[in-house]
């Protein structure tokens, strides 16, 4: 069966992942996308989430902190703001980050309209923390 090359790069860690895979499932701003080999050319923005990389019977999870994805028939290139493989994730830190983000969002909901909380940032932080925990198979 044909495979497709996946290249994942971040600004501060360089090439995080570079391998041939069977299928990639990501969450873009327009919804979930499954990419198989020989996909049509595509350019989209990604949300912070845990993307699923399928190779044979294996399924690996990679935490992505938002970014862009370009697909050509032979290759998927992901420009991620941040990316973590399961080994590189600190569960306690992710849990703390999630708690912080949840508190901020709760505070935002309680507060009046002109609160100083950046709700977009808090939402993104929450999504990132959730993605990290998901990758580690930690329930929250």
């Amino acid at each position: 069966m044909a495979t497709i090359r996946l290249e994942l790069v971040t600004p501060d860690k360089g090439e995080v992942l570079s391998k041939d895979i069977d299928m990639l499932i990501v969450r873009s701003t327009a919804g979930e996308l499954g990419i198989l080999p020989r996909h049509a050319r595509l350019l989209t923005e990604l949300l912070p989430h845990a993307m699923r990389v399928k190779t044979g019977a294996n399924e690996d999870l990679v935490a992505i902190g938002g970014g862009f994805m370009e697909v050509t028939p032979e290759q998927i290139t992901i420009l991620a703001d941040s990316a973590e493989l399961p080994d590189g994730i600190d569960v306690d830190r992710a849990k703390a980050a999630m708690k912080r983000a949840e508190e901020r969002i709760a505070e935002y909901k309680r507060a009046t309209k002109d609160s100083l909380i950046d709700i977009d940032r808090a939402n993104k932080a929450l999504a990132r923390a959730k993605a990290r925990l998901l990758v580690k198979h930690v329930t929250f």
Binding site: S28, T44, E45, F68
Partner: protein, 358 residues
């Protein structure tokens, strides 16, 4: 005869200078290692972004460019005819000196690019530098349209010299306000700011204190400023000049055209264009991707510059330390010669005195 005390003093001062240069060398060395590591882990990201941009541009049809950043050369010429646009340059140099020819190399390249008037041979074609093509295109505007004539005149002010046959050097143009009118500059680093301010350029914004340890935040700020200026319609071309870090002993100045993206510069390899699918739609994806690409490119350039600066300083300082060592050796030799000459003299005097008494 040279005074022994004077020589001693000189030796001491050379030695203390050597201590300073040696310390600066070591500081630069440790910072350089950090800067190089950051740079090396950033390179793949910038490279991939460029690859995507190139692929995107080759598939792009000039007619349906829905982003304000993408246009064909013909549209560029038309836009210039309408708006009389200026050229914007971003020059990245250092805050501090003592880095050999690092800053002056950047300035040399900057002047060559800024003052390019289409008369010098364009044998060299750099991968990401389309400024010269833009200038050439704008220079060769034809027709007797009033708008175009005006634009052509403004071009003469901006990039081309009104007397192209005469070579005018920069020093003669220090206060030539007309010449500098069509150019805006953004400078990073105190050295660059000082250099261009002295020469009467219009610096719309300068940054200092960020060149040695660049952060993405500043790159984003610069990118936002550039985009804002470009969107205002007053700017026709944005080019960045920085120092590319090739290796610890080789750094070359480089220029990159950030805006606009001209479709003619990305010729399609095969005529069959495979259209991209954009999720959710072209405009929103490109409006997110292109500004991001500019900020990424600036950040990458800042990292390149920082690593180049530190490696230049490292080389300059280790050379200075070696030279000081050599000088101390020479002075020591001289000092001993003078000392021995003095002793010999004294012995001669004593012997002469003793002989005279007999």
């Amino acid at each position: 005869m040279a005074n022994l005390q004077n020589i001693r003093r000189r030796i001491r001062s050379v030695k203390s200078i050597q201590k300073i240069t040696n310390a600066m060398d070591m500081i630069a060395r440790s910072r350089f290692n950090a800067a190089r590591d950051t740079l090396l882990s950033n390179i793949p990201y910038v490279e991939k972004t460029r690859e995507i941009l190139t692929r995107l541009m080759t598939q792009m049809n000039s007619s349906e460019s829905e982003s304000p950043f993408i246009m064909s050369r013909q549209e560029l010429i038309e836009a210039q005819g309408r708006t009389d646009g200026k050229f914007l340059f971003l020059v990245i140099a250092s805050d501090k000196g003592l880095a050999g020819a690092y800053s002056s190399n950047v300035f040399k390249e900057a002047h060559a690019t800024i003052e390019y008037d289409g008369t010098s041979p364009t044998g060299e074609s750099k991968e990401e530098n389309f400024h010269k093509q833009n200038v050439d295109a704008l220079k060769n505007m034809t027709g007797i349209d009033a708008d175009q004539l005006r634009a052509q005149k403004s071009f003469a002010k901006a990039g081309g010299r009104r007397t192209p046959n005469k070579t005018v050097n920069v020093a003669q143009e220090y206060h030539d306000a007309d010449y500098i009118e069509g150019i805006e500059l953004i400078t990073v680093g105190r050295k660059a700011t000082g250099h261009f301010k002295q020469r009467g350029y219009n610096i719309i914004k300068n940054y200092s204190g960020i060149s040695e340890r660049p952060s993405y935040q500043y790159a984003k700020e610069i990118a936002d400023l550039i985009i804002e200026r470009f969107m205002s319609g007053e700017i026709i071309d944005v080019t960045m000049i920085y120092t590319r870090f090739n290796s610890a002993i080789s750094c070359t100045p480089d220029d990159v055209t950030l805006l606009p993206l001209v479709t003619d510069d990305y010729p399609s390899e095969n005529n069959a264009k495979e259209e991209y699918i954009y999720e959710p739609d072209v405009v929103s994806v490109l409006n997110d991707f292109l500004p991001r690409r500019i900020a990424t490119r600036i950040y990458g350039a800042m990292l390149h510059s920082a690593a180049s600066e530190l490696s230049s300083r490292m080389n300059a300082m280790s050379n200075a330390t070696d030279n000081a060592q050599e000088l101390v050796g020479k002075l020591n030799l001289y000092y001993n010669k003078v000392r021995q000459a003095g002793i010999t003299n004294e012995i001669n005097e004593i012997v002469g005195g003793a002989n005279a008494l007999e």
